[in-house]
Symmetry: C3
Subunit: 249 residues, 3 copies
Amino acid sequence: MKSMNDSLDVSRVASILAALGKRRPRVHCLTNTVAQNLTANMLLACGAIPSMASHPDEVGAVAAGAGAILINLGTISPEGERAVPKLLAVVRERGMPLVLDPVFVELSPLRLRLAEAVLGQPGVTVRGNAAEMAALAGVMSEARGVLRVTTGKVDRIEDKTCVFTVAHGHEWMARVTGLGCASSALIAACRAVEPDAAVAAAAALTAYGIAGEIAAERAAGPGSFAMHLIDALAGLDEATLAARMGAVS
Amino acid sequence: MKSMNDSLDVSRVASILAALGKRRPRVHCLTNTVAQNLTANMLLACGAIPSMASHPDEVGAVAAGAGAILINLGTISPEGERAVPKLLAVVRERGMPLVLDPVFVELSPLRLRLAEAVLGQPGVTVRGNAAEMAALAGVMSEARGVLRVTTGKVDRIEDKTCVFTVAHGHEWMARVTGLGCASSALIAACRAVEPDAAVAAAAALTAYGIAGEIAAERAAGPGSFAMHLIDALAGLDEATLAARMGAVS
Amino acid sequence: MKSMNDSLDVSRVASILAALGKRRPRVHCLTNTVAQNLTANMLLACGAIPSMASHPDEVGAVAAGAGAILINLGTISPEGERAVPKLLAVVRERGMPLVLDPVFVELSPLRLRLAEAVLGQPGVTVRGNAAEMAALAGVMSEARGVLRVTTGKVDRIEDKTCVFTVAHGHEWMARVTGLGCASSALIAACRAVEPDAAVAAAAALTAYGIAGEIAAERAAGPGSFAMHLIDALAGLDEATLAARMGAVS
């Protein structure tokens, strides 16, 4: 198996971030209304372009030109529920990368059913916390080519051929709403410019975690943390990555 | 009648905040899309866990494990309208505390009708500004065991047996969207760990108002105010409460 | 043709901002869920009052007492789609000013159809970026009394009788979600207190752009930029306007 230190060095993360800034992929996000603003700002900070249409009559047309799609099940609405198959059709027709964020799937049979529908699509990246990933373990074991990204104190990224771990971040990241959701969008953005889904996810979470470490040094509490994280992500350069990635490996 | 100075001392407020941080109750919020993010972050800053599902097919399942429910009528949608009776069923079946925030009820016959439905439930806490509470006065006078929380320059908390007043806060709190809505969520969180609804509301508004005073000293305007309020709330300790509560009593 | 320097001097902008703070018009915003919070805070920072109901059964009643209406097509929902004709009825019945923000109209046939319906109303102000305005050029050429506001590095405000240009702002304004949407709301607010639609738009964008310049001097990146912009807008006085407007004319 590959490990992060074997394959994901500083220059690889930096080149993926540089590609985001240069190619500026659009990421279509069907995401919850709590995290929409933060998610859009996080994407913009990295150079990606957010779009967030959810109306079933337009979501296919709007998503068609994107570079990747995120489906996040938080605050799923009846219209969002009807948008899911439209987005899956775009994924199939265009071979577009797809990331699933199964927010609170352990609490809702509706979300479990929608997650199952999404995972009928091969090659999905799923990003969730331990409880969410546990609730989906059975479904994911039958899904083709799924990449499982479990975030927490140490993030674990794994499919049948590799495991990466990322040990960056700060405890306040669990005290600010939407930061997990926004990390899923960042994974989708990196996937739009990087064909290897595991590398894309590892690069996204490395950059995100390092920005979180910088933010924790600047913030006075969880209220100011997200703002500093966005500022740090927008200003992340290879020297900073090198200093921080060296420090934990 | 009880007054705040008789029954709500510093140690009572501090112990309710400590219980929030220790027990970490989940508060299910059916709330408006303008205030969702701020509300979630305010709850997290105090140690509570937000959940915000509104889809009628899942809202009952998601809310069932919460410690309290908030129904806020701002930006109520047709799906939110259908979620209200589902949440009232959870309240009845589980004896769960319920807080109503009747945003702009004075402008909308639809919201008035929904508020009446909510107030058919006994023991509801209602938090609104003077105009909202005036519009609901008739409905509340017929509701069983309602606790009326009118916020403004001085907050007034009253039921048939007691009146508390809370004179904390800052004028900028009326210049930042969602701060009133978030205070209702904090009242719900405190109610999840404190059986006396009036004490829970008084503790929540005391902590919130004091955090607002601290934020006003740190902020450069209404744009930075909310962030500082969340930071202050997350860092509120008994010494700070004592210094501030003493100063106004 | 009039130019900005002929007709929009510092005292005119200052008097429109002063009227906002004194008369505190309510602006009813049917707007996207990504930008709602920022839009509301931007309005409050200037003294205006936001309302954001979108339920078709209440939107007419809530909007009826407003001073202006904004229709923003971002994240339009089926319920928002049904709210549009209700708002157009309020505009017709009460002669209320109307601003359209055609977010991503170039990507969505649904939004194009809705924009056409809105532009059936005479006297609409349309605020968009170059791509959005280009997609609507044909529709706008047939609309009666439309004011076209194209924002970018230099904002251009034009109808059949005049052209204003505004050259304020900062590149980060394109890196923060919702800032364009919020500028449309500010145009609506100024229109509520200023009968000349072109002057209202020019005053709003001048104040907004100057607040953006101040924010850029204070912010450490796009994450902290919006907060500083709101603070700057709330504190904008005639002396600051004079110093900044003089500097670019």
